[in-house]
């Protein structure tokens, strides 16, 4: 595998990470909450699609069309029950509450579905395996291309929503100053609920792609959360297109890292993430201060 091909595969992988991270980014941008259960929510979405596929035999994408409204509704419920309360307490509360939620989701999934690994690749049709050989060293997979196209469309749609629609302006206004928004007549509670619902819906899309491109089990959530969080941080917290770029950066780091050593892939991503944190927050001044 040449480096060019590795980079290309990294872009496709990165587009997947961007979709996975999008919901996390939205929730942070609007509410300043990091949902530690985000990965588990994505996996939950994958399981719902799986159940529909198993019961009805429809293709995965059709099943997703049914699973999506369920997940969106779940997002509303999640906001109005757990997250709304945690917003009013300290900074640590949302982290602690969503961490607890993460454990609940993982173990409920384990109870219902057993720890067995599942996949949606089989029910997604030919897109799972089709690919084109562009040159002798470059191959483009249909799935990779699909995810990339969907990611770009998704981010473009969000951009349009936020910049051109009144509902989008309202969401940005609430994100910038919730108190002033309330005084202007905006119901911040329902704006937050909308944001979470959108975030959870997009997370479900991430879960769908996870299930098609690889496998998942009840405890896959935390790994997805780490990748999503790394994506958001690398791209710049609170920046929408930054999340897409961050995902691609992470994906490329992992695939190029794999070229060095197969077990180095995930590590390369971690190192990139830590490097970004050091540069952005550490200021590079790792000088020992006298206390």
């Amino acid at each position: 595998m040449t480096v060019t091909n590795a980079v290309l595969q990294g872009v496709f992988l990165g587009a997947f990470y961007a979709v996975l991270a999008c919901g996390l980014s939205i929730m942070f941008g609007v509410m300043r909450i990091i949902n530690l259960a985000h990965g588990d929510v994505a996996v939950l979405g994958a399981y719902i699609v799986y159940v529909i596929v198993e019961r009805t035999g429809v293709p995965a994408f059709v099943a997703f069309a049914v699973a999506l409204p369920v997940m969106v509704l779940l997002g509303y419920v999640l906001q109005l029950t757990v997250l709304e309360r945690s917003l009013k307490s300290g900074i640590l509360t949302p982290l602690l509450a969503t961490f607890g939620l993460s454990i609940v989701i993982q173990n409920l999934l384990q109870l219902v579905f057993s720890p067995d690994v599942r996949s949606l690749g089989g029910s997604a049709g030919s897109v799972t395996t089709a690919s084109w050989q562009v040159t002798s060293g470059l191959s483009v997979s249909a799935l990779g291309l699909l995810v990339l196209v969907v990611a770009v469309l998704l981010f473009a749609a969000l951009q349009l929503f936020l910049s051109k629609t009144r509902a989008g302006w309202i969401m940005r206004a609430t994100a910038e100053d919730a108190d002033a928004a309330e005084l202007a007549g905006i119901d911040s509670r329902s704006v937050y609920a909308r944001a979470t619902a959108i975030a959870v819906g997009i997370a479900a899309l991430g879960g769908l792609f996870l299930g098609i491109r690889s496998v998942f089990d009840p405890v896959s959530g935390p790994t997805q959360l780490i990748f999503a969080f790394e994506t958001v941080v690398i791209g710049g917290m609170g920046s929408l297109w930054g999340t897409l770029l961050g995902g691609i950066a992470l994906g490329v780091a992992q695939t190029v890292g794999a070229q060095i050593h197969p077990q180095f892939a995930v590590m390369a991503g971690h190192l990139l993430f830590l490097a970004v944190l050091i540069v952005r927050f550490g200021g590079g001044r790792l000088v020992l201060r006298t206390a």
């Binding site: 945690s86 640590l92 607890g100 993460s102």
Partner: protein, 332 residues
């Protein structure tokens, strides 16, 4: 009005705690080896809970990555023992190693804001875990045993491990206790109440937090050492697991974040739940997670914190009490 540190209750209780420690030391002489092992596990939980509370409750630092130090403690022990060092000395060295490694990590980690710190620590734990996995000498992904402990007869080994666990627990509890009673402790309280105000008064916030972080590094390292001493076999996926953080969060949230006695209560509770529900599997974890979330949302002070607030009770004298002067004390 006067300011009081010790009340009659707290004097009694502190004396009681010292007596309890002495009594506990007699445990291996009285009980069967498997009971001793269980109680060692309890002590490990107490140590972890107290350390996580030192970070989050007193320092405001929510770490989801303390398993990094648990792993360093455990694998450090194996490493030093493999170099030919006597196993119990290896344990002390591994604890020091964990504490030492926490220092450079703190230089970078403490600059991070809440969420970045929480997950940043998790990523650091993952990085260390991957590094360990790559090392064949440390058993790679399949795990490794601390065979050097086999030179001891099982009963003695269990006893030594228990006493080490008791010693560690007492030492770290005492360290935290004196820390909180010192001027440092007051400044920590100030930082917790209002960091910016404290900083403007000259409180060196960064140095204080670093001290807590390094203490927790030592403490969690000690816990890791005890884990390998207690169970003999370790593997990366269990010793570096984020599950440890889940337990720590549960113990401290339910016990009482920011109180001294709370985490101990939380550890005892978790231990009781674990021993009762060994067959529980996922159900009991669902319960743990839901309880932790509920406490975070509804009872943020935890069980002990709520009791303490309601009754004005403080069993261990880490704070000050303002007492209304009795009539005979005021000047005429």
């Amino acid at each position: 009005m006067r300011v009081q540190r010790w009340t009659r209750t707290s004097k009694l209780f502190t004396a009681g705690t010292l007596v309890a420690a002495l009594v506990l030391a007699g445990v291996p002489l009285v009980f069967e080896s498997d009971v001793v092992q269980k109680l060692t596990t309890l002590l490990i939980l107490v140590l972890l809970a107290v350390m996580w509370n030192a970070l989050a409750g007193y320092g405001g630092l929510l770490s989801v990555g303390q398993q990094a130090f648990i792993g360093i403690g455990a694998y450090g022990t194996v490493f030093f023992a493999a170099q030919g060092v006597s196993p119990y000395v290896a344990m002390l060295l591994a604890t020091l190693l964990a504490g030492a490694i926490s220092v450079p990590i703190s230089l970078f980690a403490l600059r991070l804001r809440a969420a970045q710190f929480a997950i940043g620590m998790w990523v650091i734990a993952e990085v260390i875990s991957i590094l360990v996995r790559l090392d064949q000498n440390l058993g790679a992904g399949t795990g490794i045993s601390l065979n050097q402990l086999n030179q001891y007869e099982p009963n003695f080994r269990q006893a030594y491990t228990f006493w080490l666990a008791l010693a560690f627990t007492v030492i770290f509890l005492a360290a935290l206790f004196f820390l909180l009673r010192s001027p440092l402790g007051a400044s920590l309280q100030a930082i917790r109440d209002d960091e910016d105000a404290a900083r403007s008064l000259g409180v060196r916030v960064a140095a204080r937090k670093r001290l807590l972080f390094v203490l927790a590094g030592f403490g969690c390292g000690a816990a890791g050492v005890l884990v390998v001493a207690n169970t003999l076999f370790i593997e990366p996926s269990s010793v570096f697991s984020v599950q440890w953080s889940a337990y720590m969060i549960f113990m401290v949230l339910v016990g009482g974040l920011g109180t001294f006695e709370g985490p101990i209560l939380g550890a005892i509770l978790l231990f009781a739940i674990q021993t009762t529900f060994t067959q529980g599997g996922p159900w009991y974890l669902v319960g743990l997670g839901a309880t932790a979330a509920l406490f975070a949302l509804a009872l943020p002070r935890g069980l002990w914190g709520t009791v303490e607030e309601r009754l004005g009770l403080r069993l261990l004298p880490v704070g000050y009490r303002v007492v209304e002067a009795r009539r005979d004390e005021t000047a005429a």
